[in-house]
């Protein structure tokens, strides 16, 4: 952002972003296009793009002379009209934004969202050769800002697209909370009989090396050609551009801040792999697409008063009282190891047991998952586990914390409290597996 002084100066000179200006300072004269000012950098500098293509920041002080040479020209983004081929399967792309959906103005470096299908087809001309694409833009907030309201909207769009004849659906999404959305859609879409594929990218599409292209192409291929009737995430399986995987929506987690193979299956195998060239291979058990003609229903009610808490050394369980006071209906405790919270009375006020008991008495459903991520919680092996269980907490098997959280929010809105508590630790959509196989660890 410019300082007030500089902003005033530019406005008095009628200089706008994009104009060609000349700046003379300390004996040096620079001419270039005025670039947009972002929140980074010194507020008293103007950034010029010179003929060479390089940008330079010039400090503007009382000795600086600045003048407008000519008005700027706007850059239009190129478009490509797709050729429709009615023989291809129909796939809906529901566009929610994220890194994958950002485009860059190569002059200014300004990033904005791709919202028109024609822009998308310009970037990725393969798409209309794979499927007949219907495009729905529902972008609005970044993935870290999404709430259950966006999940509900996306679920409704998915149901509508499938009921309108889409063979599969692709949802572009920011990666940070993609696994939350994937879990939410899994519970919300009843009688799903088509692939629903979430995808995103870790490197923005403005660079030739972006993972966006292959991720989106692979997601569209899965939606068009696979026989998976589940919600899942399709992203790079490795750091190479060779293989993408499709991970069950309730068993996926972002495990790295920046690598393109950040999404991993936890306590599960990838359902399928798809190569760069589009070959699909299936590796896990999954629900298959059938000939049934039943319509998919979006059952989107969601109880937002559910919290995630983390148990850790020195943690203060009084936080539970806060949530009870606020009228919360559910709490997921991400516990240590097999599902422990502090239970000892040695350290005054540190045991979680009385707080959990109080919550349960107040009809709050308390679920327990593990911060180990891998493996299954247990309510029996150690005495302290039994104590927590007796207090009324539900150990959530091999479920991820994020999945348990979303599931509980959905259960509480769609079932009676007792039923919701009962269903929390039972598999309803592939989120709990009875068997954990050897190869699922660090896969």
């Amino acid at each position: 952002m410019y300082s007030d002084k500089l902003a005033k100066l530019l406005s008095s000179l009628k200089i706008e972003t994009g104009d060609v200006v000349e700046v003379e300072s300390g004996g040096a004269k620079l001419e270039g296009e005025l670039m947009p000012k972002t929140e980074i950098g010194d507020p008293n500098t103007v950034i010029l793009k010179m003929k060479s293509g390089y940008n330079a920041g010039v400090l503007v002080d009382s000795d600086t002379k600045i003048k407008k040479i000519s008005a700027g020209k706007r850059q239009e983004f190129p478009l490509a009209k797709p050729k429709l081929n009615s023989k291809l399967p129909k796939v809906a792309i529901i566009w929610t934004g994220g890194t994958i959906g950002s485009k860059i103005d190569y002059k200014t470096g300004g990033v904005s969202m791709t919202v028109k299908p024609e822009e998308l087809f310009y970037y990725i001309p393969e798409l209309p050769e794979i499927a007949n694409i219907m495009f729905k833009d529902v972008s609005g907030v970044a993935s870290e800002d999404m709430t259950y309201i966006e999940w509900q909207k996306i679920a409704e769009e998915v149901a509508k697209a499938i009921n309108d004849g889409a063979r599969g659906v692709v949802i572009t999404h920011g990666t940070d909370t993609m696994h939350f959305t994937a879990a939410a859609l899994t519970f919300m879409l009843k009688d799903l009989n088509a692939p629903v594929v979430l995808t995103g990218s870790q490197r923005s599409g403005d660079r030739g090396s972006s993972d966006a292209f292959l991720n989106l192409i692979s997601a569209v291929r899965l939606a068009a050609n696979s026989n998976i009737a589940e919600v899942g995430i399709c992203m790079h399986a490795t750091s190479s551009d060779d293989k993408m995987h499709f991970i069950r929506g309730t068993k996926a987690r972002k495990m790295h801040t920046s690598r393109r193979d950040a999404f991993r299956p936890i306590n599960d195998r990838a359902i399928a792999y798809i190569t760069k060239d589009g070959e699909i291979s299936y590796h896990g058990d999954y629900k298959k697409v059938t000939d049934a003609q039943k319509k998919v229903k979006a059952q989107t009610d969601f109880e937002a008063k559910v919290a995630i808490l983390k148990a850790y050394p020195n943690s203060d369980p009084e936080i539970i009282d806060y949530y009870i006071g606020k009228g919360y209906k559910g709490i997921i405790i991400e516990a240590t190891g097999l599902g422990h919270t502090p239970t000892s009375v040695e350290h005054k006020g540190k045991s979680w047991l009385p707080f959990v008991e109080r919550a349960v008495k107040k009809n709050v459903v308390v679920g327990v998952t593990s911060q180990c991520l891998y493996g299954r919680v247990n309510d029996n092996v150690y005495k302290n586990l039994r104590l927590l269980s007796h207090a009324g907490a539900v150990h959530c098997e091999d479920m991820l914390t994020e999945t348990a959280y979303v599931k509980l929010g959905w259960l509480l809105a769609n079932h009676k409290q007792e039923e919701a508590k009962d269903l929390l630790a039972k598999n309803i959509a592939g989120e709990i597996k009875e068997r954990t196989t050897f190869d699922e660890f660090l896969a």
């Binding site: 004996g27 620079l30 670039m35 293509g53 190569y106 470096g109 310009y122 660079r207 972006s210 551009d241």
Partner: protein, 628 residues
């Protein structure tokens, strides 16, 4: 125009041809870390194990692709596979585009500012790191990070003032390990090492000046003490054009000594091509459509054609009307118009071409085949032809490219990036079309850097100063000629290290590094292959009195032949210095064999004849003179 080679190339000559020339010098910096991450800024050796090899595909991203047809470029690029070797110590996630860049290396920035100060540059107030699109895969991110640091500088070389418009701080690319049909393999150890790009303007007056300027900038860089040495650590690109010709960039010259010859040869090449153009136009020359020769040449015995046809390939040719004699015209030593056209064909992966200005019998064409070809091409007495054989898709491309270049012979000189063809002859070959302005956009992952007054002051203190260095050297070696040679020598910093860290006297060290090295090189010893660490060890041994001056010479020869440690070579070659009590004992032994025991000169000669390499003359003198 008169024969360009016969014209004396004085300043009038350069003016008369409208000579324009500029230099771009790229120098790797000797910082501890890379420019945007904490990996060491050195090349990996075998001990740095490979952790993985990742493979990637890159795409042309939207917009501003200039005249190149987008779909063609897209098709071309999307299936090109790039593999990147990932090393334990020299690669982290930043290099392989799996993590955003860290903050810019402040040590590299300091060096850039010091160099800029030495060239009287003004600095950009707030540096803006940019991404420059790279399409050859040499960067896994598909762009190079580059930042404009300094502008509007000048240097003075041989009394001429040269403008230095720009100084950039950028990232080194990955080095190619191998390239094949399957793709290109790169090593990422080099990727991200800080690199300075220093540019002159385009008004260098003549070829000799281009060389002096390159030498001057090279010296300035070495004097800074902050740059890497060794093969590939400095590269000069030279831009040359003449009136009526075109800007041509000769890329990656590593030997400054020959830079003037490359420049002069480029002028000659352009003059000759312009001459050819005029004559071709006058003769009404033209290029005809291609003809398929596959069937006709199936029975041929010409090996290089038949080899391709037997593998299912094709042979295609085209007639060049009124081109006879021109394809064989020399434009540079051992380079003809035919070679220029052939370079273009080779872009499409064919091995080259055959043209009718060559002696076709050498390829194995029979008289009869030659006649058949003439008939097939309806060849008139002034016409020429070209034949290309290879894989069908390659040949189609190659023929189109060759025809395009042949047609351009009637228009002028194409804008080109050229690479060294022959180091001895100082000639170049076509490498790729001169790229238009590279697409650049801001590196939004890296912060702008405000250049503070403190940074500028610090740069003034650490700016390299050639005159000061020269005086300093003169005070150390006391011989103007050697001091000057040392200043220009790539071993300047080695010299400084040796005299500061060993007891070897500076005059002797300078002598060895400058004169002895040249002498040994002339005698055929591969003296440049000795790494600097071993040379340092050699002078350490000498400084500690473990070996004599004469043994230093001897060991250098051995070191150029064997990779053994200095200590080991001393042992194996029995070059330990005989000194103190041992020398006294040796002298008394030799004395016993002497006829006239009073002749001290004879005694000295006897000892030296046998022990020249291991006995120090001065010490021997003092031992002998104290002998009773």
């Amino acid at each position: 125009m008169a024969n360009p080679e016969k014209v004396e190339r004085d300043s009038n000559f350069y003016k008369s041809v409208g000579f324009m020339c500029g230099l771009e010098i790229h120098q790797r910096l000797a910082t501890a870390h890379k420019l945007f991450c904490s990996c060491p800024a050195t090349l990996a050796n075998e001990s740095d194990k490979l952790l993985a090899e990742v493979s990637r595909y890159q795409r042309a991203v939207a917009g501003e692709l200039g005249s190149v047809d987008r779909s063609a470029e897209f098709e071309e690029a999307k299936n090109r596979r790039f593999n990147y070797k990932v090393r334990d110590k020299h690669t982290c996630l930043v290099e392989i585009d799996e993590e955003p860049p860290h903050n810019i290396n402040s040590e590299a920035l300091k060096i850039a500012l010091a160099m800029g100060t030495a060239m009287k540059m003004k600095f950009v107030d707030e540096l803006q790191p940019m991404r420059k699109e790279v399409v050859d895969g040499s960067d896994p991110s598909a762009f190079q990070r580059t930042t404009l640091v300094g502008i509007d500088g000048t240097i003075e070389v041989d009394g001429h003032k040269i403008n230095m418009p720009t100084l950039f701080l950028e990232e080194e690319s990955s080095g190619i390990v191998s390239a094949s049909e399957d793709g290109i393999i790169y090593d990422t150890d080099r990727l991200g090492i800080p690199l300075l790009e220093i540019d002159t303007d385009a008004y260098i007056p003549n070829a000799a000046a281009a060389k002096s300027i390159a030498l001057y900038i090279g010296t300035l860089l070495r004097v800074s003490g902050a740059v890497q040495r060794g093969i590939g650590s400095i590269r000069q690109d030279v831009n040359v054009s003449i009136k009526g010709g075109a800007r041509v960039e000769i890329k990656g010259l590593q030997e400054v000594d020959k830079l003037d010859k490359f420049v002069d040869n480029e002028i000659t090449r352009q003059l000759k091509l312009l001459e050819i153009k005029d004559e071709l136009v006058k003769a009404g020359a033209s290029v005809d459509a291609p003809i398929d020769l596959t069937e006709m040449l199936k029975k041929s015995t010409v090996r290089i054609v038949i080899n391709q046809l037997e593998r299912g390939g094709v042979a295609v040719g085209f007639r060049l009307k009124n081109f006879k004699g021109f394809l064989g015209k020399e434009v540079n030593p051992d380079r003809r118009l035919g070679s220029e056209i052939s370079d273009y064909a080779k872009m499409a992966k064919v091995n080259g071409l055959i043209h009718s200005d060559e002696n076709l019998a050498v390829y194995g064409f029979t008289e009869k085949e030659h006649e058949e070809l003439k008939k097939k091409f309806s060849l008139g007495p002034h016409d020429a032809f070209v034949i290309i054989a290879g894989k069908k898709t390659d040949v189609e491309k190659a023929v189109a490219l060759a025809m395009e270049r042949a047609k351009y012979a009637l228009v002028g000189i194409p804008l080109e990036t050229r690479a060294v063809a022959n180091t001895e002859l100082c000639t170049t070959r076509f490498m790729r079309p001169l790229p238009g302005g590279s697409r650049m956009y801001p590196e939004t992952d890296a912060r702008p850097i405000l250049i503070t007054k403190e940074m500028v002051e610090l740069a003034k203190k650490s700016a390299p100063d050639i005159e000061k260095e020269k005086k300093h050297l003169l005070s150390k070696v006391d011989n103007r000629s050697i001091a000057e040679q040392l200043l220009l020598s790539p071993r300047l910093n080695l010299f400084k290290t040796i005299i500061s860290s060993t007891k070897a006297d500076s005059g002797f060290v300078a002598n060895i590094l400058v004169q002895k090295f040249t002498e040994l090189k002339r005698s055929g010893f591969e003296i440049d292959s000795i790494d600097e660490q071993r040379i340092l060890h050699l002078f350490e041994a000498y400084g500690k009195g473990e070996i004599t001056k004469q043994a230093v010479d001897e060991l250098l020869k051995e070191m150029s032949l064997k990779k053994d440690s200095v200590a080991n070579l001393i042992k194996v070659k029995r070059l330990q210095r005989i000194t103190g009590k041992d020398l006294e004992h040796l002298v008394s032994q030799v004395k016993k064999e002497q006829k006239d025991s009073s002749d001290k000169n004879e005694l000295r000669n006897l000892v030296m004849a046998k022990y020249r390499l291991t006995v120090d003359g001065a010490e021997l003198n003092s031992v002998i003179s104290s002998e009773k």
